[in-house]
Symmetry: C2
Subunit: 414 residues, 2 copies
């Protein structure tokens, strides 16, 4: 059996254990929800003070020049690029994931309409993050466009669903509920074979698992910065466009930040040549600035080290639950195969909701997702092996003692 | 002649003079650019600490329930409502002005397409804030929609441009360059006569001049919170939809925040019945939270008092320039008629750019807009009559002495 002492030893041997010191973690809390909202980098507090006191408070309007606010989306994009296999000047950070997905989908459909007007399906998964599907619905229903959304129930059905009719394949790389990860190389190749364009939502991937957008020949990608990238609650999202599509990237959200000469105040829109054509309007500078503090921590390590620890943490959790909770009816819905696993682990249980609430009462924070799913996120930058042991042990204890309230009242946000 | 002592006396008599204490204004600076970026409410620093330390840092994911993050767009909308003649639950604060304009325009076009399919023009002004025009271009060019953008060169041409062919009238209430204000009642009535829908951009109005959205029978409105509302750099914007249009308000940016049951994780989008159907994805919580500190200050006064002081400040500045700079070729482009004036005053001058730079070097901050325009914004909440006198006197001094560098190097952001 694996003991707490074994885990403490693993922490001593962990080459990136010291990165935990870069974060303000609440005392006595085991935080396994960084896949929903990442913890706070210490640098973010310092940066917030700087933006509040100096940039806004004192320098006011002058900060547009002196603090480089207008360049922030590009500067942050360049910090993010190496984490997802992108090159400099291929990513901008701005707006929300949903809005960036709208831009990517609108551009992809417009490219396909011109080149392959008969392609009329958009392929995705029924258990994709719902808002991604809502965006497809919004864009196609708005003017009754004749695109059909094809939703597969199982990942293996993608190989039939992606065919000559497919205009766009829209997938989340790591599933928000199960933690299952797609093979991005394989699916990009399959899409390419059928002249379909791929859009990847990297919200549960970036900063947690290696992603190779250029190497795998992806077409478009979007994602949020507030999960494994620790950018702060609801921090602005990002969009990546493969260089080969940039000249044809037509953004219907064509605001002045995407203009070739934004300060000339021309009355017609001419998109800039760069990825900044994916920008729209003025960005929330304070939230945007803090994204930098999260991204800077990644400069102290690399995705290989992060992935190695992520797999070790999730392996450990799965093993501990197998060893100690076998009789309690937990059903693992995260793939055991490393190649198919992201950085969170999910179990189904008929009492998943009260179980999670009971853990939270003990300051062990995972979360609940409909239906009947307990999620545990493992952030290699700050989760320790001892955290994993203590969390698994608390869950065992709660299950052994039936120490949860079956009819726990539901919160609005679960 | 009006003396500095006269102005100091006006400050003593000013019933809202004490509101200046609610702001962190940099010492020795006369800030006349609140129409571009509002000054910092003292409450914003306190609120930022709370969001950083407690909500994000300590409570982490639990703040979605305990800090009411999900309700913020509505809570802020309700604080803003009385300033623009809206009722509770008619406004949400989220995303950027450009994105909200896209939503309003998309919804308006969709409503008109169904009811009056022959209406094919969108009427605006050539000197509208450019990004508003870019959004029209983005939406119509994306799928080659057959709407035509009609731009009038002078406000008085609107009465001909708005006619039976007009689907949508898209105007900025107070012009960003000239400070000229439209008659919202009159133009809404004219549009209604022709079954056209109006969209108002209130970026330079809200918090500076009285606006009566419901009373004037407007259809849609959007605007930013970082100018006269003092919400912080690039703070999220707002959108208002007249209740009568809400059931038909079809938002193509249909993200999960606009869903009727956002936490049920359904795979199809059903818009909520309320104004929250104008929301899209997760919002930048830190920037969004600080908007509250700006809006709360307005609870200490009302738009009648603010408007009265705004007109007194702008009258004073115009008078001082007339009295003291008559020979220097400044051309006032802001209407003298109170009914047509917002809260900033603009002058054209061949050397407008170096003049503004020279003022900024003396810590008197106005701004420059192409072509050859100096703008001076007067924020009744914190601009004093003495500020106005000192600014006018500095401009006089610079002009009298030719104390400006004609070839001043241009900043990227002017």
């Amino acid at each position: 059996m694996i003991t707490l002492s074994d885990c403490v030893r693993m922490d001593h041997r962990d080459p990136i254990a010291s990165l935990r010191d870069q974060f303000n973690l609440p005392p006595n809390v085991i935080y396994l929800d960084g896949n929903s909202l990442g913890a706070q980098p210490k640098g973010a507090v310092e940066r917030a003070n700087q933006v509040l006191q100096k940039e806004w408070g004192n320098d006011l309007i002058r900060s547009w020049n002196t603090a480089g606010w207008f360049d922030l989306p590009s500067r942050l994009g360049n910090l993010l690029a190496p984490l997802v296999g992108a090159k400099p000047d291929e990513i901008v950070v701005s707006d929300s994931t949903s809005i960036n997905l709208f831009k990517a989908l609108a551009a992809a459909l417009s490219i396909q309409q011109k080149k392959y007007p008969k392609k009329k399906t958009i392929v995705s998964e029924r258990n994709n993050f719902p808002t991604d599907l809502y965006i497809v619905q919004g864009i196609t229903e708005w003017l009754d466009l004749d695109f059909e959304l094809i939703l597969v129930d199982k990942p293996e059905q993608l190989k039939w669903a992606i065919n000559k009719d497919t205009a766009v394949v829209l997938l989340t790389h790591v599933n928000y509920r199960t933690g299952a990860m797609h093979d991005m190389h394989e699916l990009n190749a399959l899409a390419k074979e059928h002249h379909a364009l791929t859009i990847w939502d990297l919200s549960h991937s970036a900063g947690a698992v290696p992603v190779d957008l250029n190497g795998s020949q992806a077409d478009f990608a979007v994602g949020c910065t507030y999960k494994y990238l620790n950018g702060g609650p609801g921090a602005p999202a990002y969009i990546w466009v493969a260089q080969r599509h940039l000249p044809d990237f037509k953004n219907p959200l064509s605001g002045w930040w995407g203009h070739a000469s934004p300060f000339d105040m021309q009355d017609t829109f001419t998109p800039t040549a760069s990825i900044r054509r994916a920008l729209c309007g003025t960005q929330p500078i304070i939230s945007l600035s803090l994204v930098e503090s999260g991204l800077e921590i990644f400069r102290r390590t690399d995705m290989t080290a992060i992935r190695k620890k992520s797999l070790a943490l999730t392996d450990l959790f799965i093993q501990l639950i197998e060893d100690n909770c076998a009789s309690h009816g937990l059903r693992l819905i995260t793939p055991k195969d490393h190649a198919q696993r992201g950085s969170h682990v999910s179990y189904m249980h008929p009492h998943a909701y009260p179980l999670i609430q009971s853990l939270i009462q003990r300051d062990i924070i995972g979360d609940y997702r409909e239906p009947s799913v307990m999620r545990f996120g493992f952030t290699p930058l700050y989760t320790s092996y001892a955290d994993v042991w203590n969390a698994a042990d608390a869950l065992r204890d709660i299950l052994d003692k039936n120490a949860y309230e079956i009819n726990a009242p539901r919160h609005a946000v679960t």
